[in-house]
Symmetry: D2
Subunit: 241 residues, 4 copies
Amino acid sequence: MSPPLAVIFGAGPGTGAAIARALAPTHALVLLSRSLPGSLAKLELKVPDDRVLAATFDAKNSAASFKSALEQARAKWPESTVDVGVCNASVGFAPGPFLERSTDDLRGNLEACAQAWDFSQAVIPAMLPAGGTLIFTGATMAVRGGANFSAMAPGAFARRALAQSLAREFGPQGIHVCHVVVDGLIDTARVKGIMGDKAATVEEGTRLEPDGIAQVYVDIVNQPRSTWTQELDVRPMKEKW
Amino acid sequence: MSPPLAVIFGAGPGTGAAIARALAPTHALVLLSRSLPGSLAKLELKVPDDRVLAATFDAKNSAASFKSALEQARAKWPESTVDVGVCNASVGFAPGPFLERSTDDLRGNLEACAQAWDFSQAVIPAMLPAGGTLIFTGATMAVRGGANFSAMAPGAFARRALAQSLAREFGPQGIHVCHVVVDGLIDTARVKGIMGDKAATVEEGTRLEPDGIAQVYVDIVNQPRSTWTQELDVRPMKEKW
Amino acid sequence: MSPPLAVIFGAGPGTGAAIARALAPTHALVLLSRSLPGSLAKLELKVPDDRVLAATFDAKNSAASFKSALEQARAKWPESTVDVGVCNASVGFAPGPFLERSTDDLRGNLEACAQAWDFSQAVIPAMLPAGGTLIFTGATMAVRGGANFSAMAPGAFARRALAQSLAREFGPQGIHVCHVVVDGLIDTARVKGIMGDKAATVEEGTRLEPDGIAQVYVDIVNQPRSTWTQELDVRPMKEKW
Amino acid sequence: MSPPLAVIFGAGPGTGAAIARALAPTHALVLLSRSLPGSLAKLELKVPDDRVLAATFDAKNSAASFKSALEQARAKWPESTVDVGVCNASVGFAPGPFLERSTDDLRGNLEACAQAWDFSQAVIPAMLPAGGTLIFTGATMAVRGGANFSAMAPGAFARRALAQSLAREFGPQGIHVCHVVVDGLIDTARVKGIMGDKAATVEEGTRLEPDGIAQVYVDIVNQPRSTWTQELDVRPMKEKW
């Protein structure tokens, strides 16, 4: 048994876990995040142990983290190839006035692009023999530089530039690269806390649902070579755009 | 039994028929094109008669054609509501130098926008009570005005403008409007003829497949209210973009 | 004496007149609008009679109006060639809900593209021998289809598509085509009336000034063949974008 | 005598020098580049010594370089304020396959954004009291991620994101921020060398001219608060786009 592998970088409890759950029926999962593998149980994946591998991502050793995770995956599933890569870790949300932000804030966010680069350097060679799909999770600030986003938007734009360049370079070689602009708040426990939600559920169509986003990623993975989407937006019904 | 209705304007033998086939398992079909209903058999839908209604679209009486088709649909499925509208008829392909084209050529292509308008005027009120999905088939010339496309691109841009305006006006009211840029040649009998294909099949990833496009439309129809895409591109793996 | 000609379609008392005044030092003016030549005095051009020709534009005979104006110009300045064309007449502002607008409203606005087409058919052949500049005045609704703009945005998008196609077709032949998105309210007598301005002047940077726009057009006309801009936006300092 | 200051970062012998020459009649010049002040003579500015200050930019101490230059300027022209900033230093041109590029290549190019950040941190506070203009020189790779541009486009996109964010944050405060996409080869000595030009001049309209670009910058600086352009492209007449 050699299931195709899906490598997910940024496997947190919200969208990352939803993407993992959505790919689990068809793929063995290689998950990376800062707190994994300790917190794997928290993701509630309901996936048997022989179908999941959790590795810790060390931001100080980005390239080595990806290399190590892929080596562990090869050891665990020697016959498998990488079919899907999801670069779900992106720029953290911390807007603020330009003159109250430092070059280090900017550099920290540009680093999200360097990590996406290292991730791509690891998974693309593993995908080249049989083809595959590489998805970047983006945000509105990847396409619009808003006031107070000066330290954040550059990193997000940079990741989109990387995705677009890779799409054009590796598309003809069989690797489908897609950048998804996630436009709006995602209805996760963390966002509920930040927004001070009183009710358990929010009004329909006002927030993105992790499972809805995950289904979009599955749709992208399933697109045949005749019909690829390289960039798309998703937003809740009532989001202004 | 009252199946939800999918109304497809531009139900020709290529993409239109593929979309119809893809929606048939879940929707009763109301099909409009210039040559229907006579040529319904040619679409090879393999759908029982009680699940399909074929109506002729008269370009001279655009609004009346849509009104009549919806009235026939209401008579055939009195309990059903319109769930999906597909505006698949677009600007015809006839590029050429500006100084060899006439105002009538331009107006004929702008008329594709007026037909999309009439179609939307017919299906949106039918969708408002329960929500629904309205998809416009676009093309690269809807987002890029190329040399020799002066008589064509304006109509295609205009249709995209209409789709975008409707998406913003009716999205919050539960109608998901999406414009799909179909970028590349579609592998239909007609295109095979134009391109003088010798072989029965083309190289993988060089042309769009009608069934691939149709699956994208099904994906859009299935998007929940938390996660809507309003604009996306599709192209074959080897298409330059 | 054979001054180069600037043909301005949409020579109203606001932006059109400002563009005419700005080009007057270097060009003889051929002006077209619905109410000209009767209202030429109102434009307060301060241009001698031998440097200006006012012609009436008849929307019912668009192509003939342009042809006639150019013939008059050739009779008045037999040695001159057309150096600048400004298509300043665009889609009128009348937003409203889609279901309260008719196909005729849409068609009326699409007609702005057909008029731009006829204008281009008239001036481009006159420009080809020596090169020249053709500028389209656009608006935000030429690049964004907003809610309640369904009857307007299609015409504005269509004009931009035309400008872009012409830029790509005739640029290499020496005709510089540029589409200017004018984003915001222009401080004209008409807008002052609509907005119910009490004071004679508005706060600095809240409205576009006709003379500011006109200077942008002069800048574009002056761009050498090494450095052309085909699309740009202008907006007041405090406009949100 | 207290001339307004123009601070130009990236004052090389091509476009940077042309911008300096174009601004010299109206502004005292503060120039920064890696090789200045030793090579100031090479710029052939023909500007008297009391109107120019040349400072060395140290990439290892980006923020300190800008701070020092502005302090020298204040010492030289104590009554002057900064009116113009030009961030002309951008991502260097070194395309190549993704798998032959390293994270360091990427990071080196992202650093162009960090330098633009430091430059903006230095000049914006100096501009806030009286307003001013901040122009970023960009390139096509700032808006399109091409194949083989994976290590370059992210830095260029990031700079555009920064410019756009600053435009939206500081525009209402009187600082006009504009990003210029320079699309095409610039006709400089360096490019002539790379392209192996035999003739002294190239065919008209095939390359950008430094003086043409510089005039665009002057036009932007001269735009009044009623009429600002925040993003524009320039290209030679025969450039494909």
